[in-house]
């Protein structure tokens, strides 16, 4: 039964990983921006939930979902307008730049909300769980899975079915050509960054159900988020999904048989090993171009 239990646990860890990585499929996967402040946008989503709580009470989590999307998205938009836009094509510089931004945002959180954690109360319908053939299924984890799945579906539709998504991919693949084809590249950049950051905010809302809400939370999730995207293959949605679930399951079983530290080390080792086999992640964006 533990085996079955851990399967559900693995799926729910996978859902968390996927949620925190979804936004990166835009900013990192599409735009190639290694946004170290992504974690702080997650944090912004979490604190938004805390703020929303003051009027929405214990229904803060559902109410905060759209609000956090807008808040974190708005922060992303400002970041893009002020800074990131000067750095397209220089992903490694952006990394340092956004690292600076993340320091500032963390300190800002300490000054605005205090260093200690704050509390977000889960709505009644997201507390507890039920028993399914002896396996405990928690409502909050189910909620996160549902959120992750809808996020994936939404992004997939956006990328493949909407002209905005197509335009976005065009800009990311060949900025200059997009411009000379009449695409308003700066607006596409803004929208892309807005959505990617907004998704981080949504992840932040969900994370209040299971973890702390404090100035540090971004730093706890950022490495895992990047690993998921990299293991899946940059800009590859289905890669990210598979990677998140696989890493979640791997983590849950290894942790079951060993311990949390070792599980983390194993996950890293497996990713290194995996990239030996598939150097560009699960799904590869191939091209004939020379690099």
């Amino acid at each position: 039964m533990t085996i079955a239990n851990q399967f559900v646990t693995g799926l729910s860890i996978g859902a968390v990983l996927l949620l925190i990585a979804l936004g990166l499929t835009f900013t990192f996967g599409q735009m190639g921006v290694i946004n170290m402040a992504h974690g702080e946008f997650i944090m912004a989503g979490a604190y938004t939930t805390y703020m929303v709580q003051s009027f929405a009470g214990d229904q803060a989590v559902p109410v905060a979902l759209p609000v956090a999307f807008l808040v974190a998205g708005g922060m992303g938009l400002i970041l893009e307008r002020l800074l990131v836009r000067r750095f397209y094509g220089r992903p490694l510089d952006t990394l340092l730049l956004t690292w600076g931004v993340s320091l500032v945002l963390q300190q800002l959180a300490i000054d605005l909300f205090g260093a200690p954690n704050v509390q977000v109360t889960a709505p009644g319908w997201l507390r507890g769980g039920f028993d399914l053939f002896g396996v405990t299924v928690l409502y909050n984890r189910l909620f996160m899975m549902a959120l992750a799945v809808s996020g994936v579906v939404g992004i997939w539709l956006y990328l493949t079915r909407l002209s905005a998504g197509r335009r976005m991919r065009a800009v990311m693949q060949n900025r200059q050509l997009a411009a000379v084809s009449g695409v308003a590249t700066n607006r596409v950049d803004q929208l892309t960054f807005f959505i990617g950051s907004g998704l981080a905010g949504v992840a932040g809302v969900a994370l209040t159900l299971i973890g702390p809400v404090g100035p540090q939370i971004g730093t706890y999730y950022i490495v895992d988020a990047f690993l998921v995207v990299v293991a899946g293959g940059l800009g590859q949605l289905r890669g990210a999904v598979i990677a998140a679930v696989a890493l979640g399951l791997l983590n849950s079983y290894v942790e079951l048989w060993t311990n949390a530290s070792f599980a983390k080390v194993v996950v890293f080792a497996v990713i290194v090993g995996f990239l030996q086999v598939r150097p560009q992640g699960l799904f590869v964006l191939r091209s004939r171009a020379l690099t």
């Binding site: 992903p91 320091l103 000054d111 530290s261 080792a269 560009q280 690099t291």
Partner: protein, 364 residues
């Protein structure tokens, strides 16, 4: 300005910088500040390696702390054994309930072995990783994130093995360095001077590497790894050599850090400190070795003095510093210096602009 002047300007600046560090600083700084400067110089050694691997070779290594740690722990283990108490056990083993010296520790009692390991361990690790990873053409963002994961995993491993490594604490309370009492001012000065000399030597080695054809080849690989294959070179080997070189420097720096600071702990090796090592280089200018050295010193100095000046909000200033440097001086202080210089120089024909955007290795 004559070409001759230009030719000798570099060496002259090097000698001047060296003399300032070796002769002037020990006489104008108090022991505490001198010790801090020594620490900055350790990071400058790391920075020189990063300037080669990243600035020249385009390998954004976010896990340099691992190599720093390997060197540091190799040195630390030796020094801890020298100071070990009655049972021949370092202090932390006693309070972690280890009764017998682990086999892994035994050879480190030998100073020659320990010193060799300072270089061998990080180099071997880098060669192993490099051959695996570069052969498979993992690069750009993939390499960056991978190396970051490596740093994270390394720290978790160290922390989890408290009896063997001292866990989160690391190796603390190191008081003697080959018989020298590290709290004696004269000895601190001596160790500082050793650091300066090591930095000087390392700098010259890196300079040679950078200016050689090997250095050009690295740049070529950064700009077009696949194209290089069709020139008949194996990029994996070339990159591995450069990566191993940077790892060896990080290891040496880690080993120097131990007597300079008296501690080596996972807190110095993880994701954040590894990034900090990079940031100094970015600030100074990754394309210039001197820039990297100056950047490492400036960044660490800024961190110290900003945190002293405004302990509760200094992260704002540090964050602002990165942002400012990236926005206004993407080629770092060295870039600012160069453009200032070229404004003075007024050449007959306008020098060619470097290709507009600073090209970087992107994913895929």
């Amino acid at each position: 300005m004559s070409a001759g002047l230009r030719r000798y300007a570099g060496p002259a600046l090097f000698v001047a910088g060296f003399l300032v560090l070796a002769l002037v600083m020990p006489n104008v700084l108090g022991p505490f500040r001198l010790q801090l400067l020594g620490k900055y110089l350790c990071f400058a050694v790391v920075a020189v390696g990063i300037a080669i691997a990243w600035g020249r070779g385009g390998m954004l290594t976010l896990g340099q702390g691992v190599f720093f740690g390997l060197g540091g722990y190799a040195m630390g283990m030796h020094l801890k054994l020298k100071e070990a108490g009655a049972a021949g056990l370092p202090d932390f083993m006693v309070w972690s309930g280890v009764d017998e010296l682990p086999v892994l520790w035994k050879p480190f009692a030998n100073p020659v072995f320990a010193l060799a390991m300072v270089i061998v361990l990080p180099t071997a690790m880098a060669v192993l990783l490099g051959l695996l990873v570069f052969r498979q053409r993992v690069r750009g963002a993939y390499f960056a994130v991978l190396s970051q994961a490596l740093a994270a995993a390394f720290v978790i491993l160290l922390v989890g093995q408290q009896g063997l490594t001292g866990g989160t604490n690391g190796l603390t309370n190191i008081q003697y360095f080959f018989g020298l009492d590290l709290y004696e001012e004269a000895n601190q000065r001596l160790i500082y001077l050793v650091t300066v000399v090591v930095l000087g030597v390392v700098f010259l080695l890196a300079w040679q590497l950078k200016e050689s054809r090997f250095g050009k080849l690295l740049v070529a690989i950064r700009d077009g790894e696949d194209r290089v294959r069709y020139l008949g070179y194996d990029p994996a080997i070339v990159k591995t050599v450069a990566f191993a070189f940077s790892a060896a420097l990080a290891g040496i720096a880690g080993a120097l850090f131990v007597p300079v600071v008296g501690i080596i702990s996972p807190a110095e090796l993880g994701i954040v400190p590894s990034l900090a090592m990079l940031i100094g280089v970015a600030i100074g200018g990754r394309y210039s070795l001197a820039g990297a050295v100056v950047g490492a010193i400036v960044y660490n100095y800024a961190e110290t003095s900003l945190s002293e000046a405004w302990p509760s909000g200094w992260k704002y200033l540090v964050g602002a510093l990165f942002i400012a440097v990236m926005v206004w001086a993407p080629r770092g202080l060295a870039g600012l210096f160069e453009s200032a210089l070229s404004r003075f120089r007024r050449p007959a024909a306008p020098p060619p602009a470097a290709p507009v955007a600073v090209k970087e290795e992107v994913a895929a």
